[in-house]
Amino acid sequence: MLAEYLPVAVLFVIAFLFVALSLLVSSKLGPSRPNPVKNAAYESGIIPDPETAVGGSRFPVRFYLVAMLFIIFDVEAVFLYPWATVLRDLSWYGLAVMGVFVALLFESYYYVLRKGGLEWD
């Protein structure tokens, strides 16, 4: 039973070793020339605002909007997994029914797009 999980354990060990080794090698061999820009916290290219970090200012509400849209479309994909495992048995009928489902998803995507839900500014 547990032996089935041996490859997973091996993978874990290899992954850990690889990360540790890469970090070690780059810190030993690579040149180190720090400057303020490099030391700044990385926030997806946005200049970090210290007030945000301590709760002084707010995140723009657009973040929530995009996050909500992401969640809803992301979770719909959960229905595709069980369907995919039995696709062969369901054959064309299953494909057609899932086509309807995906078409409805696209309709909501079209709605979001037209209402400007994905525009940043």
Binding site: E4, V86, D89, L90, G94, E107, Y111, R114
Partner: protein
């Protein structure tokens, strides 16, 4: 690996799509209305695209099954929506409203067809069950009398709500394109809930209707009252859904099935009621109690009813109650019949509490909408009498009550919406003083609905009350009926207080210079239709309705 080996080979269930045809109509029209609203200037092209797909689908069905009725109807509907879009392409709101009204009417038509098709089987081999639908959609959906009757109730409520909403939403500047689609989606959830034969379906249907109603309750985005109503409704609604879901999980744990009928069979084969079964039952009572606004789970009702846009309040009060009671009945009569000794007394007490608390709290209210909210709580209590009776007369009484209450509720909230349009504010009872002198027609309509809500003999409300009281007496719950009569007397007091204010008192000084009432065509039509139905059921055809409900008062077992 090991789990997969246990699973038997997959069988595609025999899906009878016709069983959920009203839901498909409502949902399809909802999607269509949303698409056409979204498409904006390309409305005509989008409509043509829909027409093309629908025609292709209809052609495929016609060729593969050699039927002509269903593809013909689909093709006709597709052509109809294209024609409507072509005529009103520049008035998107009117187009949505028309589509929504047609969708509700179409769903009523389809349900009537189902009624005809299925009741034909009454004379067949097994006359005891209305329809044998064990295998429909893998046992997910039951098409029986209760389901069909409630579907009609919900769709009628929607059909009246659309014209009531139009001018009101326009006036309050909340007439956005999502309004009618959401109404249709809520109705889809409600009709589905009324016909769910499986706990999975119960949960999904409840969520579909609730999520749509949360948004509709908060549809006035800039109005704090509306937002507050939506938020309260959302928090308590989600909370009660979670409780309900835990109850469902426990039922599944005890019985090993999520099918309501199968769970009932499993419960009856258990020797003694297990603790888990009773806990599940309690959780389900709490969950459904929230949805149907039974005391002590009614706290959200007055707030939400007061804050939500008025036509939506009427729709919520009427249709949600109808659908939730249908599912409540189906679950408890279907799954928990073997444990009846344990839930009847609980519901008895809840019914008594609901009737008394609803009526007493309504007396002290000043805002008319809020007062009607508490009165809705009291009415949930009267419906519970029919429930507690657990006999055929009881189920029939519940159906009659909910149908008549639909029109009373929509009518009274409709008149309030009309008055709010002029005054641009919520109506307190003082604002209604002297209304009968200035605007006799709306005041008379409101008086009619209020008298009916009070259950004065000769009105439809009396017919409804009589139906549930009769069932209660038959089942030996005379004490409960006495409590109901006491509650009705208390309730009559505040209904009549409003009528006295309208007709006996003078217009207060300083507010005489009000603009004349300008009812829109839609509002007048909606209110007049409700009033006409009220009068018809109250005087001429109560027996027709009661007969119909008696016929429908059966469950698939």
């Amino acid at each position: 690996m090991t789990l997969l080996a246990q699973i038997p080979p997959l069988q595609i269930p025999d899906i009878a799509w016709s069983a959920i045809s009203p839901e498909l109509v409502l949902f399809g029209v909802g999607i269509l209305a949303l698409l056409l609203d979204t498409a904006g200037p390309q409305r005509l092209q989008a409509s043509f695209l829909v027409f093309g797909f629908a025609a292709a689908g209809a052609g495929y069905i016609a060729l593969s099954t050699e039927q002509s009725v269903l593809p013909g109807l689909v093709g006709l509907a597709a052509l109809g929506q294209f024609a409507l879009t072509a005529i009103w392409r520049d008035r998107p709101r009117l187009l949505s409203a028309l589509l929504a009204a047609l969708g509700f009417a179409g769903a009523i038509g389809v349900t009537t067809w189902q009624w005809g098709a299925y009741s034909g089987r009454l004379v067949g081999a097994d006359a005891a069950t209305f329809v044998g639908t064990d295998s429909l959609l893998g046992g997910m959906v039951a098409v029986d009398g209760v389901a069909l009757f409630t579907r009609v109730t919900v769709c009628l409520a929607g059909l009246v709500t659309v014209p009531l909403s139009f001018a009101y939403a326009e006036e309050r500047r909340i007439h956005r394109g999502e309004y009618y689609p959401l109404l249709l989606f809520a109705a889809t959830g409600m009709t589905l809930l009324a016909s769910s034969a499986d706990f999975i379906m119960v949960f999904i249907a409840i969520e579909v209707l609730s999520l749509s109603l949360y948004i509709l309750a908060g549809f006035a985005k800039r109005d704090l009252n509306s937002q507050e109503a939506a938020l309260k409704y959302f928090l308590l609604g989600a909370f009660s859904s979670a409780l309900l879901l835990y109850g469902i999980a426990l039922v599944y744990g005890v019985t090993g099935s999520t099918n309501i009928a199968e769970a009932g069979r499993a419960f009856s084969s258990l020797d003694a009621p297990q603790g888990m079964a009773v806990a599940a039952m309690a959780l389900l009572i709490v969950g459904f109690g929230f949805k149907t606004a039974i005391v002590p789970f009614h706290m959200w009702t007055p707030d939400v009813y007061q804050g939500a846009p008025t036509p939506i309040t009427g729709f919520m009060a009427a249709a949600t109650k109808a659908a939730a009671f249908a599912a409540f009945l189906r679950v408890f009569v279907g799954a928990f019949a073997p444990l009846q000794w344990s839930w009847t007394p609980v519901l008895w007490v809840l019914a008594a509490l609901t009737m008394l608390a609803g009526a007493i709290l309504a007396v002290v209210q000043n805002d008319v909408k809020r007062m009607l909210g508490y009165s809705a709580v009291a009415h949930a209590g009267y419906v519970l009498i029919g429930f507690v009776a657990v006999n055929r007369a009881g189920v029939s009484g519940v159906l009659v009550y909910l149908l008549i209450y639909t029109f009373m509720s929509l009518g009274s909230f409709g008149v309030l919406a009309l008055l709010e349009r002029r005054n641009h504010k919520a109506m307190a009872i003082d604002d209604l003083r002297g209304l009968g002198r200035r605007d006799p027609v709306p005041a008379g309509m409101l008086a009619l609905f209020l008298l009916s809500l009070a259950g004065i003999p000769g009105t439809a409300g009396f017919v409804a009350k009589f139906a549930v009281f009769r069932a209660g007496i038959e089942a030996g719950h005379a004490a409960l009926v006495v409590i109901a009569v006491v509650s009705s007397v208390i309730a009559a007091f505040f209904y009549i207080r409003v009528i006295v204010a309208m007709f006996m008192e003078d217009v207060p000084e300083g507010v005489a210079a009000e603009a004349p009432l300008a009812p829109s065509t839609g509002m007048s039509a909606g209110i007049a239709f409700s009033a006409a139905v009220m009068v018809a059921f109250g005087t001429v055809l109560p027996f027709l309705l009661v007969d119909l409900a008696d016929q429908a008062a059966t469950f698939v077992s």
